[in-house]
């Protein structure tokens, strides 16, 4: 199957390249002889590429890129170019990439030669190189490498660098377009990346989501709030994509805010976070879902963006989602966009035109911004005219008409004609001015320009249909004009009017028919048809005068070249001229032909455009374009809102860049956290169930969590049970209660402040640390805080300096897997943090490594390879000579993590194998070292680290948890801290020091308010 596809593709390609070479020949001919023949030039380039000099190669590549840019073919140079793919010169390499991406599709076999280079580069320590390797690898459209791409994407999606993860998100789309069969796997990656907290990744992954699986709305639930909160900090292009996606999402998840009797309760924060407010009952007055409000609130500042696409995206979001009375805030921003480039104006005006049909009030105060300038392009002028017409009402019509009068005189005749149409529309829509408009139009009949006159005639015809009796003089006037008008449409219109209202102008009509009889043969078809009509109508009303004329015209029509006219003539003759063959129809001829006809309704061309989402290509073109995603109608009943509830831990990292995994690693390490997350999951389920069942399901889930954690807990069962229960009660409310406010990211640069406010308690966490440290583990630290905060409920922290290391209060028993026996070919390894001062160096963290041999052969010479791939300094353990089958040995080693949560990668070697492994510090807590100091010292040191180095958070805690013992226990299980005895009862101080000269301390304070 795949082969078939490949060959099909090849076939297409050859066709394509043939075409382009043909085209190239054409262009060559055009550009005359001064260009050298391509083949010779290429020979020359080939030589340059094969030379040893970098500069010559670079020169050659530059010329080749020049050829590509001009659309000339350079594909026969492929082998020579591909050789340079591994070049050291970065510019040369980039140019080769450009070439490769352009021609790989046509030279699939040769392109494969370069793949290994990229695979190597994917492991490069430089993130730019990793990213660009992935970019090029995924851009090479060669179906054979799909599995390799898939693997690379999966790997890059978990890369530490957000830039590489962003590239991975882009690669997803490329792979999907190359091989749609990979969809399922790609969705998995998308799901993973959607959880990413980096602002860099958000836009790209949502783009991938939109392209690959826009219907999997369920993937968004958990990330909805995060995306809303991140939005302001995402780069502008990502904002556009995310806003469009969230618009669609919101239309499926929230109930309509457009109800007549809607009562809006916006400012009350209580309703906002109150869990009761969430269950909207149909019978109750409408209360907006807090998530719905969150979206509207977080997008509003973006109306001030300099990027017109962002402003438009927010505007359409408000148009489709906001309550009607809030819409007005988008008006100013849209009007502002009209100052932008011509093309921007065009799109914005189109959207305003659609909006102004439904809601005149929005734009009426800005009417003057739509006044036409003589220098505007024609399509801009017509759009402005359209909007002005839409905005017209009784109050402003006189101003608008005065303005329109100026336009009628425009030199741009197409525009003048459009203005006349607009006047006609104003006249029908606002009955007060119909007469004024009609008079004005009649005046235009004496205009010198024919298009203006013709257009006026057509519009007058439409207007007269509404009240013909009073306007016989206008019809007479038009009859007089008939000779001078040559535009067929206008002539036909006059003829139709004459026929329709022949009773009002009994003298003129036969005369016009007489003139027409003379010129019938030379008229346009449309005029001929109307002449036949006129003749028939006159025959019925005034047969004495017109009988002969009618006969004559019908005879002419009978032999006309156009079959429509011949048909019409035959039909009319049968209808009106009574003879023995004519049946019942002719008796009704009069009623058929002279039936009263409804007046045409003059409508805006933008009337039906609102079926498309505003701001889309489909809206601009007024037809559905490929890949357009329909905006669904509001659901009658809102789907379950609890699906969007996420763990607090996840929320905490949300606005920060960088490390994506601390939350996850914490989960792995701390048995308590696991338990907590589990509870979180079950509690969200619970919240939808009724309260009577609550206690039951609670105890059930508690049992579950107990089971899963039995091994890791040292606490007595009963105590634990009690605590879990407490925790859970809190957890259940927490998602609703917690409100986390962040300072703008620019300020977060130096200090982090995190407030978690609750209804019941307020707790403070203050972390102070030095700048250097901030750079490294800001994010993970915060996670740690919040995690702690969740564990008990009222803690306040401070960080300080001290000099002596103290013994750890608590040593966790859990160990982590470093190497599985399957991957290690029998050798397995586990590590754990001993929390002892490292004997190998002050800055190192000591680790205990347990190696065991599960194979049936002895392993020899186990050691850590000399070359460490990441920058960390590692103290190796002494090589183990021989490890017997089923035996295990424990060694200790030291790693300097440089105060970061960057994983330490190294090679574990046996006699036969080299296995790369990595140690991931689970959280920043393990990198700390407790120190002993007096309370006075502590306060002194603390004083030095206030202000910018401080970070604080407030947490809720049950009273049961506030005892110093339980607090202590929890804190030490999470981070390696020491306790400083405190004179005050409700303050617990902890100090710790980081392994580097960066010292810091933590104070913990319980604050029951």
């Amino acid at each position: 199957m795949r082969n078939a596809l490949v060959s099909a593709e090849n076939l297409q390609l050859t066709l394509k390249s043939d075409f382009s070479s043909e085209e190239q020949a054409l262009t060559n001919n055009h550009s005359s002889g001064n260009e050298e023949k391509p083949s010779r030039g290429n020979e020359d380039l080939k030589e340059m590429l094969e030379s040893n000099k970098e500069s010559l190669k670079l020169e050659a590549m530059k010329r080749i890129v020049g050829l590509i840019a001009k659309g000339k073919n350079a594909y026969e140079l492929f082998p020579a170019v591909v050789k340079n793919v591994a070049s050291k010169n970065i510019e040369l390499k980039k140019l080769v990439y450009v070439y490769l991406v352009r021609y790989a599709e046509e030279q699939q076999d040769l392109a494969l030669l370069s793949i290994s280079t990229f695979q190597r580069a994917l492991k490069d320590p430089n993130q730019l190189i990793r990213a660009s390797a992935l970019r090029v690898l995924s851009s090479i459209r060669v179906p054979i490498i799909v599995p390799i791409m898939m693997l690379a994407i999966k790997e890059a999606a978990t890369d530490l660098s957000p830039y590489v993860r962003k590239t991975a998100a882009h690669a997803i789309q490329k792979l999907y377009s190359l091989d749609p069969d990979q969809k399922e796997h790609l969705i998995e990656v998308i799901e993973k990346l959607l959880k990413d907290k980096s602002t860099l990744v958000a836009g790209s992954v949502v783009m991938a989501f939109e392209e690959v699986c826009p219907d999997r709305i369920d993937l968004i639930h958990k990330n909805y709030r995060k995306l809303c909160n991140l939005l302001v900090d995402v780069e502008e292009w990502g904002q556009v994509v995310i806003i469009h996606m969230l618009t669609r999402y919101a239309r499926t998840q929230f109930v309509s805010p457009w109800r007549e009797d809607a009562v809006f309760d916006e400012n009350s924060e209580k309703t906002f976070y109150d869990s009761e407010g969430r269950r909207v009952d149909q019978s109750k007055p409408y209360i907006m879902d807090p998530d719905h409000r969150l979206l509207l609130r977080n997008t509003k500042p973006l109306l001030q963006s300099r990027n017109t696409a962002v402003v438009m995206a927010v505007s359409q979001l408000y148009w489709h989602l906001a309550p009607k009375h809030e819409l007005s805030i988008i008006t100013k921003s849209l009007v502002r966009l009209l100052r932008s480039h011509r093309e921007v104006q065009y799109i914005v005006l189109q959207n305003i035109a659609t909006m102004s049909i439904q809601r005149k009030g929005m734009f009426e105060p800005f009417m003057k911004s739509f006044y036409v300038r003589s220098t505007d392009a024609t399509h801009i002028k017509t759009l402005k005219l359209e909007i002005l017409t839409n905005l017209a009402n009784e109050a402003n019509i006189s101003t608008i008409l005065r303005e329109l009068q100026t336009y009628v005189k425009s030199q741009d005749k197409a525009f003048a004609a459009a203005t006349i149409q607009a006047i006609g529309r104003c006249a029908t829509n606002i009955s007060e001015v119909t007469d004024t408009c009609l008079n004005g139009l009649v005046l235009l009949l004496s205009n010198r320009d024919e298009t203006v006159v013709a257009e006026s005639v057509v519009v007058i015809k439409k207007l007269l249909q509404t009240q013909p009796s009073q306007h016989s003089d206008i019809i007479k006037h038009m009859a007089k004009l008939f000779d001078s008008i040559t535009v067929p449409m206008a002539r036909a219109s006059i003829l139709w009017l004459m026929g329709e209202y022949c009773e009002h102008v009994p003298k003129n009509a036969p005369d016009v028919l007489r003139k027409m009889a003379k010129t019938f043969i030379s008229e346009e078809d449309i005029v001929k048809l109307q002449t036949v009509n006129l003749a028939a109508k006159l025959y019925l009303s005034n047969s004495k005068q017109t009988k002969l004329l009618t006969q004559y015209i019908l005879n002419l029509g009978k032999y006309d070249q156009n079959y429509d006219i011949r048909d019409r003539t035959r039909f009319i003759r049968q209808l009106i001229v009574p003879n023995e063959k004519s049946g019942a129809l002719s008796r009704y001829a009069r009623r058929i032909l002279m039936a009263p006809k409804p007046a045409p309704v003059l409508q805006s061309a933008f009337k039906d455009r609102d079926r498309f989402q505003l701001g889309t290509l489909s809206h601009t073109l007024n037809s559905q374009s490929n890949g357009y995603l329909e905006l669904s109608d509001w659901p009658a009943v809102a789907p379950d809102q609890s699906v969007r509830i996420v763990e607090v831990v996840e929320l905490a990292g949300a606005p920060l860049l960088g490390k994506s995994k601390p939350g996850k690693s914490a989960e792995k390490f701390y048995s308590d956290s696991e338990e907590e997350e589990e509870e979180e999951g079950s509690s969200s389920e619970d919240s939808s169930s009724s309260s009577s069942e609550e206690s039951e399901s609670e105890s059930e889930s508690e049992e579950n969590s107990d089971d899963s954690n039995k091994s890791s807990s040292s606490e007595s069962d009963s105590e634990k049970k009690k605590k879990t229960l407490k925790n859970k009660k809190l957890q259940q409310q927490k998602p609703d209660i917690l409100n986390i406010t962040y300072l703008p990211p620019q300020i977060i640069q130096k200090a982090l402040l995190l407030f978690i406010m609750t209804k019941f308690f307020s707790i403070h966490i203050v972390l102070a640390f030095s700048n250097q440290f901030v750079a490294n583990c800001r994010c993970s630290l915060l996670c740690l805080c919040v995690f702690l905060a969740c564990q008990f409920d009222a803690v306040s922290w401070h960080v300080r300096v001290s000099l002596q290391a103290s013994f750890p209060v608590f040593v966790p028993e859990t160990s982590h897997e470093l190497l599985h026996r399957m991957t290690g070919k029998g050798l397995s390894a586990q590590y754990r943090f001993t929390r002892q001062p490292c004997i190998y160096g002050n800055s190192m963290v000591s680790l205990q490594l347990t190696l065991s041999n599960s194979s049936d052969q002895a392993l020899e010479n186990i050691h850590i390879s000399e070359k460490s791939s990441t920058g960390q300094n590692i103290h190796r353990f002494n090589a183990i000579e021989r490890l017997e089958p089923q035996a295990s040995v424990t060694v200790s080693m030291g790693v300097d993590f440089n105060d970061s949560t960057q994983a330490a990668n190294f090679q574990l070697c046996t006699k036969e194998d080299e296995l790369s492994v990595s140690i991931q510090p689970p959280a920043v807590g393990e990198l700390l070292l407790p120190i002993t100091m007096t309370e006075a010292d502590f306060t002194k040191e603390q004083g030095k680290l206030l202000g910018m180095n401080e970070s604080s958070a407030t947490i809720t805690m049950t009273p049961e948890n506030i005892s110093s013992q339980s607090v202590n226990r929890k804190v030490v299980s999470v981070a390696n801290l020491g306790v400083i005895p405190s004179s005050q009862e409700n303050i617990h101080r902890r100090c710790l020091n980081l392994t580097k000269p960066t010292f810091w301390n933590v104070i913990k304070k319980t604050n029951c308010s």
Partner: protein
Amino acid sequence: MIHSLFLINNAGDLFLEKHWKSVISRSVCDYFFEAREKAVEPDNVPPVIRTPHHYLINIYREKIFFVSVIQTEVPPLFVIEFLHRVAETFQDYFGECSETTIKDNVVIVYELLEEMLDNGFPLATESNILKELIRPPTILRSMVNTITGSSNVGETLPTGQLSNIPWRRAGVKYTNNEAYFDVVEEIDAILDKSGTTVFAEIQGVIDACVKLSGMPDLTLSFMNPRLLDDVSFHPCVRYKRWESERVISFIPPDGNFQLMSYHISAQNLVAIPIYVKQNISFFETGSSGRLDIAVGPKQTMGKTVECLVVTVHMPKVVLSANLSATQGTYNYDPVTKILLWDIGKLNPQKLPNLKGSLSLQSGAPKPEENPSLNIDLKIQQLAISGLKVNRLDMYGEKYKPFKGVKYVTKAGKFQVRT
């Protein structure tokens, strides 16, 4: 999203093509040429053109059409905004965005386009980031590069790509630290025949040239911030502080950028600095006409009006103009039918006047409508709205920067109907 880009000059030559996905034959541009022909004027080409399999979204800038090929649904403004960003980047890199400069720097152009889009989705559009990835060409650098073989391409990932402030590059260092702000206001107005204002508003921008070392955090405050009706900001500006305190607080990008733009609507009385008296008439017989234009100062706040230019788009039947100007020079181009009167400085003692006769094509009917006048002017040292910068404070760095604010008022779309 964006599949391919074609650059086409005014004469209809396609001189550059770039594809981000599979190659699309340039024959797709035939649809564009068709529309181009139909539109007559390049300004009238519709920005979005539908073809059987693709959509073409184009912009026209500096006599170049940027035609992008789209295959699926995308917000059209997204593409338009991006294309303008591309044109601005070229301008930034090469001083001007023209066919010649693009052709001369085709390799850099290609490298830029490669960095700006990945698979059709914008990757790096911030000029500070791009300049770290690909250094702009200078004569000195290109000489050094030819001799040493070093390249224009940066080897490391620009720090801006990863930080929260992608617009600023790291490690900026200047010996002279300076921050200059230009408050530029443009008056958009339509005056009718009798000189009354039909519509007037002020559009202002604050352009900044900030050359400060390190990571300065600036705060700009106004004497009268309430004047500003509607504002839009560079992404660096903290919106919250504007909302609460009406000050502009930001960490600036390095170099030139537009800090904000604002709008002062017609409700506040907009001062019109000049008045125009005109009398243009065409005679029924004799294929001729008369023209008499006089300009004088109105509300100039005591400043001099400079660079005063009056442009008239004459009707097609006007063959030539025989005029005399009391000040400045006039020029009538019989091909484009544009009469251009360059007055220069407006002298309140001796008001400039342009007077004379127009000759029309014989036999043709006299023009229906009198042409409207477009006015261009400049007033130094004045923001016509009265906006005043109060002070600029810098935090985060120790040194004392040079600071400066310049005001200038210009005519924007200033039109006098006749």
